[in-house]
């Protein structure tokens, strides 16, 4: 079977699963599509059109694998404003143009506009969108339709509406409110129920089924028309012929106006942000661990949006909730997105009249719930945990977005973030000086060891914040997730929350796909909160004496310590005399050791050490991870190193290489040096030589009392550290056995 046939075979085999998953997704997409469209003040059917166009176009042209596309939560707020200012036909034109813009961004590979905004500002914006949805729909949910000018007024009137709902004059309105409250109850309780038959149908579909059955119950059993007030029923679901006949052509007459372009840019921005966040999140869910082609997906979404705009639909975006339902139900490729559209067409064709039996409050309860999810106080609490400055950014963005608008909100959010960074860093010029300068170096470490896996080293200078994070991200994107990566921040003075959060995502991704991603050099940086994503900066020495919050590496060290029967001390230790008799440190000054893992009884002592070479202006500060083992008996002074690593031992230049007879290969590959040649030659027994020959290279040095082992003049990653520990332990055992025989 050639690869192509094989591909088709796999595709066919996975097809039934994808059809099923597409069906389940369509069950949610139907009520959500209707609800989102109505929340946007657009005709309910436009939401379904959006989902159908999105499902067909993006499944054919897209670049992601298990995402579902359709109308999105985030866009509700923008579409309301677009329709209010441009009328429905004008809004369709704005949607079509924003699709064109998105397509262009995809071709220019600029789809990643979301990368340029600070994470807390995006969170604030999404929360504001949540509040806009919730504020508007809450009133309809309780049977109290109102029209106000600003988003804030809707929110402020919520208490009044709650009070009002108990005093409805019309009994039909009471029923409407009850339908709304029950539906909200279903949305809240459903995720907590763990019944596998109940879970087969998603909560929004339960609401649809229950409301339609209730309507039939009234009609057939009670013999009355639906008790819910007729104004609170979905109206105007056309059948297929009507949809085709009624297609409203976009009206481009506003194209020269400022308001038109304001809408277009808001639509494009939110569509790309929402899609990208979703694609990134869904990639993490993908059971086959594939990497989505983001630019291709953006292009497909742009194309779909253009078509949708012309057919009377809304912006097509990638949506996280429906995508995760897709993954959970066994969706494995884009065909599930296609089938979700296909089933939607069937629903509309066969059951469009049934949909008018759904009460509006029930549908709006679904939206109130999603709006609440976006803006829940838990989000704000989580952000507060990351840092006080983040909550200021979050709240500013949220308030500006609610009162002024989306674009102003996100821009002011970015500005406030920059300001916060300047205040925290107490330096205003710093960020401007380096913002346009390259600051990332990435290279593949070449150890000369053939069997070693790819290992990449990345070093970041100056600062790493939302302003220049894309530079680091571009480098990271070039690394296969199966590789080993060490990201070093020791030359970087300031790392912000946006970068930390995204890097954490990378770490997860690498772990999932079998790679290893470690962040080093943040131990000197401090943060105000213990949150792993908190902003970090280099702080003056005096403050270091305080308890600092642990970095991820430190936490891992603490975690692995008991497993190796070691104790962990993070604090600096200034008493480092025990290192001074090692020739390696002859020409160096040891400042302190820190991050110690030790066990006195077994004689194992692992630590990070900071030392300096040279003095005054020529001074270089180096940090490295080393292991000290103390075998039970006397050992001669010696230095053993890889042939060629002379500069490490240049202080020993006076001594010549000692040969161990009968081991020519060993003598050729290693430099062995020391004063007492006979002692050393006796010490290097057959077992020991064989041990060195068959294990990876380390720099090894004995001062008679202990043996110092390390590999590189930099901090070791956790993985390297474990290897070092293991090597040291085995070496110790080997030495103890041989010393025994030789004495």
């Amino acid at each position: 079977m050639n690869p192509k046939e094989k591909g088709i075979h796999i595709f066919l085999k996975a097809l039934p699963k994808n059809i099923f998953s597409g069906f389940v997704v369509s069950l949610i997409a139907l009520p959500l599509g209707l609800g989102l469209a109505m929340a946007s003040d657009a005709p309910p059917i436009s939401g379904i059109i959006t989902a159908i166009v999105g499902g067909v176009i993006v499944s054919i042209f897209g670049g992601s694998n298990v995402t579902i596309t359709g109308p999105g939560n985030g866009l509700v707020g923008v579409i309301i404003m677009a329709i209010a200012t441009l009328q429905l036909e004008g809004a369709y034109a704005a949607i079509a143009v924003s699709g064109g813009l998105l397509l262009l961004l995809g071709f220019l590979r600029l789809g990643k506009v979301a990368d340029f905004f600070p994470s807390s500002a995006i969170q604030g914006m999404l929360a504001a969108i949540g509040l806009i949805i919730l504020g508007k729909q809450f009133h309809i949910m309780l049977g109290h339709k109102i029209v106000r000018d600003s988003n804030l007024e809707y929110l402020l009137e919520i208490p009044h509406t709650i009070f009002q709902s108990f005093n409805h004059q019309d009994i039909g309105l009471h029923y409407a409110a009850i339908a709304g409250v029950i539906s909200l109850g279903i949305m809240i309780v459903y995720p907590k129920l763990r019944n596998k038959y109940l879970q087969l149908v998603p909560a929004p579909m339960w609401i649809v089924i229950l409301s339609i059955s209730f309507s039939y119950y009234c009609e057939l059993i009670l013999g009355t028309p639906n008790v819910i007030h007729p104004d609170y029923m979905i109206s105007g679901i056309p059948n297929v012929e009507q949809i085709i006949a009624d297609v409203k052509l976009p009206d481009f007459s506003h194209i020269n106006g400022f308001l038109f372009w304001d809408s277009v840019i808001s639509l494009t921005l939110i569509a790309s942000v929402e899609s990208l966040l979703s694609i990134k999140a869904v990639d993490k869910l993908d059971p086959l661990k594939r990497r989505s082609n983001v630019n291709r997906d953006i292009k497909a979404l742009g194309l779909a949006t253009i078509i949708s705009g012309f057919l009377g639909g809304l912006n097509v975006v990638t949506v996280i909730a429906r995508s995760s339902v897709n993954v959970n139900n066994g969706g494995t490729n884009r065909s599930s997105n296609f089938f979700h559209a296909f089933f939607l067409i069937i629903f509309i064709a066969l059951f469009s009249t049934q949909l008018t039996r759904i009460p509006l409050p029930a549908l709006m309860a679904i939206l109130v719930f999603t709006g609440y999810k976006l803006a829940s106080p838990i989000k704000a609490k989580q952000i507060l945990l990351i840092g006080k400055e983040q909550i200021i950014i979050f709240m500013t963005t949220l308030i500006i977005t609610l009162t002024v608008g989306l674009i102003s909100g996100i821009l002011i959010g970015a500005l406030v973030t920059l300001l916060m960074h300047m205040i925290i860093k107490r330096n205003f010029i710093f960020f401007f000086r380096y913002v346009f300068v390259p600051n990332v170096l990435m290279f593949k470490e070449e150890d000369g060891e053939e069997d070693k896996e790819d290992s990449y080293f990345i070093s970041v200078k100056h600062f790493c914040t939302f302003l220049n994070y894309y530079k680091l991200k571009n480098k990271l994107a070039d690394i296969p997730e199966t590789a080993d990566v060490i990201l070093d921040f020791s030359m970087c003075e300031f790392v912000d929350h946006t970068a930390m959060e995204s890097l954490n995502n990378y770490q997860d991704m690498f772990t999932k796909k079998g790679g290893n991603f470690e962040i080093n050099g943040l131990d000197m940086h401090n943060s105000d909160t213990p949150h792993p994503f908190a902003l970090r900066r280099v702080i003056p020495v005096a403050k270091m004496l305080r308890d600092v919050n642990f970095t991820k590496r430190q936490n891992q060290l603490k975690e692995i310590a008991p497993r190796y029967l070691l104790n962990y001390y993070s604090r600096k230790r200034k008493e480092v005399e025990f290192l001074e008799h090692f020739t390696y440190f002859n020409t160096k000054t040891v400042n302190h050791i820190y991050n110690q893992l030790s066990n006195i009884e077994t004689g194992i002592h692992l630590f990070d050490v900071e030392y300096s070479e040279g003095e005054f202006i020529a001074k270089e500060v180096i940090r490295s991870t080393m292991l000290l083992i103390k075998p039970q008996s006397h050992i001669p002074d010696f230095t053993l190193d890889k042939e060629g690593f002379i500069e490490k031992a240049y202080a020993l230049a006076g001594f010549k290489d000692i040969n161990i007879e009968a081991y020519e290969d060993f003598s050729k590959r290693f430099y062995l040096k020391g004063e007492n040649i006979t002692d050393i030659q006796n010490f290097f027994s057959d077992e020991l030589v064989q041990f060195f020959e068959s294990n990876p290279y380390y720099h090894i040095e004995s001062n008679g009392k202990g043996i110092l082992i390390f590999k590189k003049e930099r901090l070791a990653s956790i993985k390297e550290l474990k290897a070092l520990l293991d090597y040291g332990k085995r070496l110790k055992v080997c030495i103890e056995e041989t010393v025994h025989t030789y004495s």
Binding site: G63, R296, P438, L441, E446, D478, D488, G614, I622
Partner: protein, 281 residues
């Protein structure tokens, strides 16, 4: 094989706090290379200045250092560029601040201006020291450029004379050469393969250059090659800083050929923020 010899070493001096350290460095270099030392000062000749210089250089006089002091008035950049030609200077030593700041005498953009247009090699010192700090680790560019061969040869010549122990030749490969944009797993695999091929090609090119270096110069020196995919001119500086290189050797910027215009630009990253002592060949 072009081999450089530094027979005359020049140093631009200002009576700054770093004067002694700068002269010590230059004088030590002159002794290492067996060269004459020309001290160029843009300013008046005064007895006090003469006495100070004499005092500083005295210990080297005992070691038979041949030296000469030139006093001249005028625009510092022009005076020094002119002196290079007149005195046939092969290597000019200048003290420089690590980061370019507002105009300061010598210690600022003057050093950079000279570097950009000097016809000889220029050594920019950011941390001159009175005591000798051994130069152990040298990083040199291995760009694919007609000049690289001479630059690598020079760096071997320098490291031989200074008894350096390690030379790392860095081939910077610009991202555009890869031509494959990483978008998904497939393009990533493709890009990784293309990169590996480019890396091997660059490495064999550099190895070929190294084989032409006289054996004598290669004795006791460990040669390593490292290819880096990234912004040319920037990456090597960052790498040199990360690896704590004692000297970074870069191609110079004569305005002679089409290629050089690119390298001028590359050098600007280094000049903007000197990662370590820099020798521009």
């Amino acid at each position: 094989m072009i081999t450089t010899h530094y027979n005359t070493i020049g140093i631009g001096i200002a009576f700054s706090p770093n004067l002694k350290a700068n002269i010590y460095e230059a004088a030590r270099l002159a002794l290492c290379f067996n060269a004459r030392l020309v001290l160029i000062h843009v300013g008046n000749r005064t007895t006090q200045k003469e006495v100070t210089l004499k005092e500083i250089i005295a210990p080297f006089k005992e070691l038979h250092l041949e030296y000469k002091v030139v006093y001249e008035l005028g625009d510092p950049v022009e005076v020094i560029l002119n002196a290079i030609k007149v005195k046939k200077i092969d290597l000019l030593v200048l003290g420089a601040l690590q980061r370019e700041k507002l105009v300061k005498y010598y210690v600022g953009s003057i050093a950079r201006k000279i570097t950009r247009s000097a016809s000889c090699s220029v050594l920019l010192l950011i941390k001159p020291s009175v005591e000798r700090v051994p130069c152990k680790n040298i990083v040199v560019n291995g760009l694919s450029s007609p000049k690289t061969e001479a630059t690598i040869a020079t760096s071997f010549y320098v490291s031989h004379k200074l008894e350096a122990r390690k030379i790392t030749i860095v081939e910077e490969i610009s991202q555009q050469k890869v031509q494959v944009k990483v978008e998904d797993d497939k393009t990533l695999r493709k890009a990784t393969i293309v990169k590996e091929r480019l890396r091997l090609r660059e490495e064999s090119r550099v190895k070929k250059i190294v084989t032409q270096i006289p054996e004598d110069y290669k004795k006791n020196i460990r040669v390593k090659t490292q290819s880096i995919f990234g912004r040319r001119g920037y990456s090597i500086g960052h790498y040199a800083q990360l690896m704590r290189a004692d000297l970074l050797v870069m191609n110079g910027s004569n305005h002679t050929s089409f290629w050089d215009r690119f390298f001028t630009h590359d050098l600007e990253y280094i000049l903007r923020e000197l990662p370590t002592d820099v020798l521009v060949v």
